[in-house]
Amino acid sequence: MLNRTADSVARATPEPLARKVRGISDKGLAWLFISPTILLLLAINIFPLFWAIYLSFTNFRANRPNEVVKNLGLANYKRILADQDIWIAMQTTAHFVFWTILLQTLIGFTLAWLIDRKFRGHAFWTTIILVPMMLSPAVVGNFWRFLYEPQIGLFAYAVSFVTGIPATQISMLSNVSLAPWSIIIVDTWMWTPYVMLICLAGLRSIPEYIYEAAEVDRASNWRQFWSITLPMALPFIMLAVLFRGIENFKMFDMVNLLTGGGPGSTTEVASITLKRQAFESWRTGYSSAFAIILFVAVFGLANIYVKALNKVKQR
């Protein structure tokens, strides 16, 4: 079968092309295949990154391209580290990342643990649960703004129905103490399925014979959960935490459309501050420096985390 195809292919291939291509060594082919990707990434990702590093040492402003660009050395970095607003934004980001990851991991793992019971119809309901995470975060942020409307919104109505608080008083987006929770709720709604799916893979990777052995040894369900289920699913849980942590540290689109960083700057996560500095105040040099700091932070955290992850896996 393969031979026949081979013959017909050999006959069908035009001679000059075949000769030309036959001449390429495996090594040449490898570079031919890989280099376009590397070149594209160098042009669209790495070159701009170096440009941003250069800009971060200057007072350049994108809205005044003709002004003389001065080299400021490390002044931008020093100013950022001393800037009260930047530290508040970092605290807001930390609050957001901490609570979203905690809630998503708890709820996501619980859901996965329940789905793993393989009740009838579990595949269908799992697919339904997965839908929110596939949606556009921007569009999600925008329509949750509608759900959060103080009186007419479904969320306010549902909460007042359950708690008895008048719906007019439930203004998630304009109340200073509730607004940070409004973005946490939406993010949890959207991304819990993500954590759930990875946890489910973890639970399904545990071989059944381990439970059978535990059963023979008369280990209680409680004991089985803490000594088998949780430790064996842990690398997967940590993988989910890693991905969500990086993504939420960079969070922009959903928050930008839901609260825009407001009221005031109560939900102004790092990316929103960056956008305000770069594209509203046009402090290009200053915001480039902040972008580099954020980038290094994401990278550092990810690296530390990956190392921890490998340690857990080796055990």
Partner: protein
């Protein structure tokens, strides 16, 4: 364990299955309510959409969809009466609000932009990704692990941080607010995902197929084309859908780098306003149309989902 565990001593009991099933179904139903609500709102009239208490039962109307696709001007009743009979459902709906349709809205062009940019960048990313993935999978590439980590790391950058120099670069090159610029950018973002996912898929295809083909006289390139590609179709299709979803959903770059001719749907939909504030039925209609392809893709992809969202790290 209970009597029902016929096959295995560790199978969950019927009771625990029932309890788990109830909780999961309840969660699924609650989590889907926001989406159903948006769908319902798209068929409400503007007064119905902002009624208190929120209306669950209502007279369906196409006003949201009419408003989404058209721009309207307010006219006097005398002028409207002087016009001939209404020419369609939308014309009729709009006239009831003392308005006439002035022309098409920007929604269609924005939607078409989304299609062009999403499909264009997906094609490029999958094309480049397949070649690179094959290269990394089959050849000894020096520093392969470092290169792969480099490719992945480009995806970790915060989009706003990348957008600042890209904004300047595109301004210099005349690529700001062009479909080509957005396709290049989305290709660069997606190619990292494509390489990682496809490398996993190609690793799973036994090398023996190509080796057999090459012994039969195929060149390496022919072997790649005739034996590897057909086997990788599922993987390529799944990867393409993931790239498509990313490009379709992307907002940050689109909002900062496009404003007019190349603007995609995500930055446009939130800007739909009617008289006296946001026209929620029209926004809901736009959201519904925008989300339907994603729902279809989610169902198509459900077997590959895990792989896609973890960059191929978890394969099940």
């Amino acid at each position: 364990m209970s009597l029902t565990s016929a096959h295995s001593v560790v199978a969950p009991s019927a009771t625990s299955k029932r309890v788990a099933g109830t909780i999961i179904v309840a969660y699924a139903l609650i989590s889907i309510v926001p989406l159903l609500w948006i769908f319902a709102t798209s068929f409400k009239t503007p007064p119905d959409s902002i009624a208190y208490p929120p209306k669950i039962l209502f007279q369906p109307s196409l006003e949201g969809y009419c408003n989404l696709f058209s721009t309207r001007t307010r006219q006097t009743p005398e002028y409207i009466n002087s016009l001939g009979p209404a020419t369609g459902v939308c014309d009729e709906t709009v006239r009831k609000r003392n308005m006439v349709i002035a022309g098409p809205s920007n929604f269609m062009p924005r939607f078409v932009n989304s299609l062009i940019i999403a499909f264009g960048s997906t094609f490029c990313a999958v094309f480049l990704g397949t070649l690179s993935a094959y290269g990394f999978s089959r050849f000894k590439v020096p520093l392969a692990d470092d290169l792969l980590f480099f490719i992945l790391s480009t995806r970790m950058m915060p989009p706003i941080a990348v957008a600042i120099p890209i904004y300047l670069m595109y301004r210099e090159l005349g690529l700001s607010d062009t479909a080509l610029g957005m396709i290049l950018l989305y290709t660069a973002v997606n190619v990292s995902l494509a390489v990682w996912l496809l490398k996993g898929f190609i690793d799973e295809i036994p090398r023996e197929y190509e080796e057999a083909a090459m012994i039969d006289g195929y060149t390496r390139l022919q072997a790649f084309w005739r034996t590897v590609l057909p086997q990788a179709t599922t993987g390529i299709a799944a990867t393409a859908i993931f790239c498509l979803i990313f490009a379709w959903n992307e907002y940050a770059f689109a909002a900062l780098l496009t404003s007019g001719t190349a603007q995609t749907a995500p930055p446009f939909i939130p800007t739909i306003i009617g008289e006296g504030g946001q026209d929620w039925p029209a926004v809901a209609a736009g959201t519904t149309i925008f989300l339907v392809p994603i729902l279809v893709f989610t169902i198509l992809l459900r077997k590959q989902l895990l792989r896609g969202i973890t960059f191929g790290a978890v394969r099940k």
